[in-house]
Amino acid sequence: MLGSVYALVGMGLTLVWGVVGIVNIAHGEFVMLGAYFAFWAFSLIHLNPLLSTAFSIPVFFFFGIMIHKRIMERLIKAQELAALILTFGMSILIWNLAQFLWTNTYRSVPYLTGNFPFFGLVLGKSKTVSFGLAVGITIALFTFLKYSKLGKGIRATSQNSEVALVCGINTMKMRSLTFGMGVGLAGAAGAIVSLQWVIFPQMGGSYISKAFAIVILGGLGNIHGALAGGLIIGVLESLITQYLSAKMAQIIPSMTILIILLLRPTGLFRK
């Protein structure tokens, strides 16, 4: 269940990485912004968190497109590392601004608390709902990429952007679109996260390390791989928290990154 949300974050990251070629370190911060979006929507206008998840996708989609148009496009010709440092700066800027505006208090959305029994298991209501949401968004994303014309364009750009350009695909537009989708996914993931866990300005950091682990586990730009990677990381984390300690569980993402990069740099799954 944890894994489905991680997968959502990871898929956004891998999509942007594969198509736009930008390693977006600020991705975790967009998750944080998404969580705060849901939180404020809930506490100020009492918007249902399920609805605000739906709202957060378009809002963050346009936010992402704006960032890509204004900032990222200047960098397309520059090195990959310049983009890395740039998004790193962006990440710091965003979390510190969030800290400034909303302080360091831990917050949560009190919605759908309580448990219900399910074939002998006790499940949290909010967890089940967020699992459903994450799965729904994932299915929608796959369908979009697989069958729609835009999705095909995005996949073409990811495979070979020059040939795609020759074939009449507006690759620049596809890149903005993908960046927007990546940020939109992060925002949605954030809104879902706010249902289950506490939110605070620095939460992005833990999600970005997990997202990197997922992307590297699944193979760069491989969305199916990211889905599987997310589930693997989620399960591993729960198991280790259960049997060793919560502290040890936090080492998981970094260990995964190191081990996979050394042993199987193309990721666990072939494209």
Binding site: I71, I85, L86, L93, S209, I257
Partner: protein
């Protein structure tokens, strides 16, 4: 005859110029050494910080600026060097003068292994794996399994019994040596080989550069200096804990300084560290809460508009000569 005379003349003027530069450096060093005798503790402390960050930035630049492998795990060097020397001082009663080099040597010995393993990973993946290494070590140092050695997450307060002027002179010496070595390396064939790796690693390898060996040597050198500066840093702070020692900010600040001064230059990190520590002092006093945001903003602006840094910009404009030695 006449030609030889002219050649001699140019040689003479060169050596004269070199002498003048050395004279300038000597005067500057004499001035810097004498500072604790007349300046207040505030200025000495500020200078200590500037020098520590100069070594960090120069160490980062020595490896990343020349080879193009962005090292996002500088805090790992700092933390390991700092932790080893701190534990030696605090738990085993070592004298600081011995604890520091042991910490630095330990860092560089481990980084042989780390470099050997991680340096085959290229580009962005290397950067990420270094971040992962730093984060992993930080979490590991805080877990209950390593608590008997590292004192866990609550940290180690300690007193090394070193006076501020002595600390200042040691870091000054270290910074001086680090800059001299950066200078020597940048203007040597070894430096050229590293830059060849930066420009095109495969081409360099085809032309006979032993890329893995050269990268690892640069990595170890960088680790040694940064580890030593880290040891001095935490002796100066009298305190160490995992969050603090492996903080991402310790990686970030030297990188920003180097970007600001000019990546791959010798004096860029020095200029960057000096200016930035002053800016930091002002910002920290005025805007404590938004400090990091401004930092991130500056980083973005630097990458977008001044990717070559201050010194690179000056080289482009012809204010300083376009040579590798600067």
């Amino acid at each position: 005859m006449r030609r030889r005379f002219l050649e001699n003349l140019t040689l003479m003027s060169h050596s004269f110029e070199r002498n003048r530069i050395w004279l300038g450096i000597t005067i500057l060093m004499a001035f810097l050494i004498s500072i604790p005798f007349f300046a207040s503790d505030y200025w000495v402390t500020l200078l200590v910080l500037i020098l520590i960050y100069t070594v960090y930035a120069a160490g980062w630049n020595l490896f990343s600026g020349l080879t193009g492998y962005t090292n996002f795990g500088l805090a790992w060097f700092i933390g390991v060097g700092g932790y080893v020397s701190t534990l030696l001082i605090a738990d085993y009663g070592f004298f600081w003068l011995f604890a520091w080099p042991i910490g630095a040597l330990f860092t560089s010995i481990i980084s042989i292994g780390v470099g050997y393993i991680l340096l085959r990973i290229k580009g962005v993946y290397f950067a990420i794996s270094m971040v992962a290494l730093t984060e992993g070590t930080r979490e590991l140092f805080g877990t209950e399994y390593l608590t008997p050695i590292t004192h866990g997450g609550k940290g180690v307060p300690f007193v090394a019994g070193i006076r501020l002027p002595t600390l200042y002179w040691s870091i000054l010496l270290l910074a001086f040596i680090a800059i001299i070595i950066c200078y020597k390396i940048t203007s040597s064939k070894f430096g050229l080989r590293l830059m060849a790796i930066r420009e095109d690693e495969q081409a360099a390898e085809t032309l006979g550069v032993h890329t893995t060996r050269d990268k690892i040597i640069a990595f170890i050198l960088s680790a040694f200096f940064v580890g030593l500066a880290g040891a001095i840093h935490f002796t100066y702070q009298n305190y160490i804990d995992p969050t603090f020692a492996f903080n991402i900010q310790l990686t970030l600040t030297p990188i920003v300084m180097t970007l600001f001064g000019g990546v791959g230059t010798v004096f860029g990190p020095v200029i960057g560290a000096t200016l930035f520590t002053f800016i930091h002092e002002i910002l920290w006093a005025e805007l404590t809460v938004l400090y990091m945001a401004i930092f991130g903003g500056i980083l973005m602006v630097l990458v977008l508009f001044f990717p070559q840094g201050l010194l690179g910009w000056m080289k482009e404009k012809g204010i300083v000569p376009r040579i590798r030695k600067i």
